[in-house]
Symmetry: C3
Subunit: 345 residues, 3 copies
């Protein structure tokens, strides 16, 4: 898997300082990289690591930084360059080629010539799978699903009927795309199921994490825009629309019919209630509850960080009585002001 | 899939206003329905949409509303009628019939004659599956599991040994029913596993969402009542008992041995601690922490909605010092009152 | 499955009081156990149940407690003894033996002689599975994975390439070990994926719950120590390190690169942000947000319990204005103090 420093520099439009023929075998962190590893300095505050790193070479932003190490690639954005070069060092993730003999593929499905279908994959009628796709072992691709070219579906994914997945998408294991949205009409006898007649449409270059669930729409489709990145165990309810290039961290839940803008960054453990509209470029910090629409693309929070339990308990007890305290405070203020007025006269 | 308006009206005990022979091909929202779609007006506040909808017909509550559109079905509960009619418009979800040749079915399992067992399903010894059940591709049904008639198990579900699933249940993909409850006894050497010897018993007409986990009991069974509806990625710990017709939204977690009443509605992202008892008809709003039992069936909350991060940070800083503020306030109040008393004399 | 009381006492180094030949068929709770069930009194506050239990025998801590029932085993730690004896009463969980004919096992994989490989399991190249392991139906074991002896992988688990699982581990269904960490570099075109080149290394005696996800490291490995117990639907991000014997309850999320100490107990629904360090023996209560490192092993909280919604709304409204109230309070205090000083003169 070796690449010379010179070859790597070309890939990221960087300039080599030092030995362009040095063979790089892997990527590494500044702290732990060895002589055949390329590291990177993304954050200037770690600059002091340059003096001590054992890395064979380092991606850096300036000539001055390059001078602090033996070998470097100077590049405008070292972190982006690291990301781009990471693609060259991926080990072999599976040993399968072509359509595995144990896969169950409907005669009514259309597979492009060069797809990899792993063992025990199930592909139902009317599925269309584009060139270069890899479907991992045990995944189930429902009736009428369309998957665009170069998408990777990891093992044990489930995609329900009629879902559309774009090109160059990645869906991780145990994700479920297109299960029924949670819709019921109350009746005297209990809850009457509302069959979910919409689907899920996923754009290009979308990544969906392990165990994430994206429900199909009640009548219209749930929509995930191009370039959206979704972490593990995220829940996206029916009819949600997510704008292009929004990133959503793990364990966040988005309730039904909410519309999220483009280029939003939503941290982990967030709950967003239903029927809201969030503007583009909204940032939400971890464990916040979003219960109102957001018109302006800035940062929002409601998570409260921990304290030692004994102190926290006193805080909670006071918060519970804050309404009473506020009333007493208003009264005292009035009393004082009245008295002071009288005195002033 | 077409049905005439007249046929649909009969299904929901409604009265046609307009063309009873109109053929309806699909359901639609008031905003997006076309000429062959039936829509519904569930919430009177959207009444103005009746003037502009392109829907072929609309489910409405009164004759007066019916007069605002060309074709209508007048029915006591349009939302419930929409739910009932949704069942007629479900597309074909899978292309399999009978027991697929790739399924692994124990000779000691008993399958009713008309079940559908999808590709790569695994059915262990002593399983009993009732009439009309559909077991989706890749699902694993453990030793001794009983599934009542007309239940649908979607693909890649796992049901552990000895679990009982009622009639007309729906379990979505990646759900896990009957995994071990989280039980360990501390010892000097670490944690000693407590084998979970109970099971899970699920009533009739229960729906369980994608990625939801219901753990088996430690000694007794975990119990899910009839008509319970559980959304995606809900966690139900060992020994929990959930009363009939309770509905639980996504990403809620219920800790061990808690007993939840009937007809409760629990929003998403809620955490309920262990060993509690919740009355019937309790409503819990999103992202609340329930750490005490609830004796009365009303609404409970502890979620706090977001604010702009800069403002929120000031709020949090003040909340952290609320105990100090309360003490200073009490002191000031005493000071003022003492002074005013003296003045009064 | 019967064992005499005498046999059971030997297993836990206890002393029989009463009939050592009594045959015990199962374990039971004090409230519901029958004549052939062994129960236990772990918590002295339930001592009154001893008078009414129908249990054939009870595990108790002292001779005095033993005197309150007909048959007992006196043992230093009844709860631990119950845990140890629970292993004897596990029913048969599956009906498979050896390597099932439907399993797809790479010729380049190495399986110890006495493993059980369930139906439709997929084992990729270069996998090594130790003696006594059981791999449940439909699980997918990725290229190069190593699993130590006596580990149990339940059905429909996915383990990505190169993950290392220790000895005597248990991984429950729908868990995903080794999916990509959530790493992207922002670029003008959107998010550039950072391929995740590390792996996951899991120690011995680790249990991982259903639907839990443990991501592979970006460059180094994600590490789970020996004896760690992880409940259902927990999310562990890339590069996280968890110390030996830490226990993590359901639906907790730990963000990237955080280091957690040994013997920590983390309750359910907790969010821990990235790049933190938590000391040994930290306890975190349910639904807390941990956004700072913790240097001392005591208890931390930020969860706030519910109140009736109407009262809670008033509380929230006041909390939102706490900054204003605090400022007004400071002003009033100053005003009063100034006045009182003047009066004193």
């Amino acid at each position: 898997m070796g690449h010379t420093l010179g070859q790597l520099a070309v890939k990221v439009q960087g300039i080599v300082k030092g030995d362009a023929d040095l063979v790089i075998e892997r990527l590494g962190t500044l702290e732990k990289a060895d002589k055949v590893a390329l590291s990177f300095l993304a954050n200037p505050k770690y600059q002091n690591h340059l003096a001590t790193t054992s890395a064979g070479a380092v991606l850096v932003k300036t000539n001055e930084l390059a001078d602090l190490v033996e070998n470097a690639i100077v590049v405008a954005n070292p972190y982006l360059a690291y990301a781009q070069l990471s693609h060259l060092f991926v080990p072999k993730t599976h040993g399968w080629k072509g359509v595995h003999s144990s896969a169950v593929v409907s005669l009514k499905a259309i597979l492009a010539n060069d797809v990899v279908i792993g063992p025990n994959v199930v592909i139902d009628d009317d599925v269309v799978i584009g060139e270069g796709c890899v479907i991992g072992a045990g995944s189930v691709i429902g009736r009428g699903v369309k998957i665009g070219q170069n998408s990777i579906i990891y093992p044990n994914v489930t995609i329900y009927h009629d879902v559309v997945v774009g090109e160059s998408c990645i869906i991780h294991s145990a994700a479920v795309i297109g299960a029924d949205g949670f819709g019921f009409a109350p009746s005297k006898a209990g809850w009457e199921k509302i069959d979910q007649l919409g689907s899920v449409v996923i754009g290009n270059n979308v990544e969906i994490g392990a165990g994430t669930t994206v429900d199909r729409g009640a009548i219209e489709n749930t929509q995930i825009g191009h370039g959206v990145k979704i972490d593990n165990q995220v829940q996206i309810a029916h009819n949600v629309v997510i704008g292009d290039n929004t990133a959503i961290a793990a364990c966040t839940a988005i309730a039904g019919s909410t519309i999220i803008g483009k280029f939003c960054t939503i941290s982990g453990g967030v709950c967003i209630t239903g029927h809201l509209t969030l503007a583009d470029k909204v940032h939400i910090t971890g464990m916040s509850l979003i219960s109102n629409s957001i018109a302006e693309g800035c940062s929002y929070s409601s998570g409260m960080g921990m304290e030692p339990t004994t102190k926290w308990r006193r805080t909670v007890a006071r918060v519970r009585r804050i309404d009473e305290m506020a009333k007493q405070f208003a009264q005292l203020k009035q009393q004082v002001n009245k008295f002071l007025e009288k005195v002033d006269k």
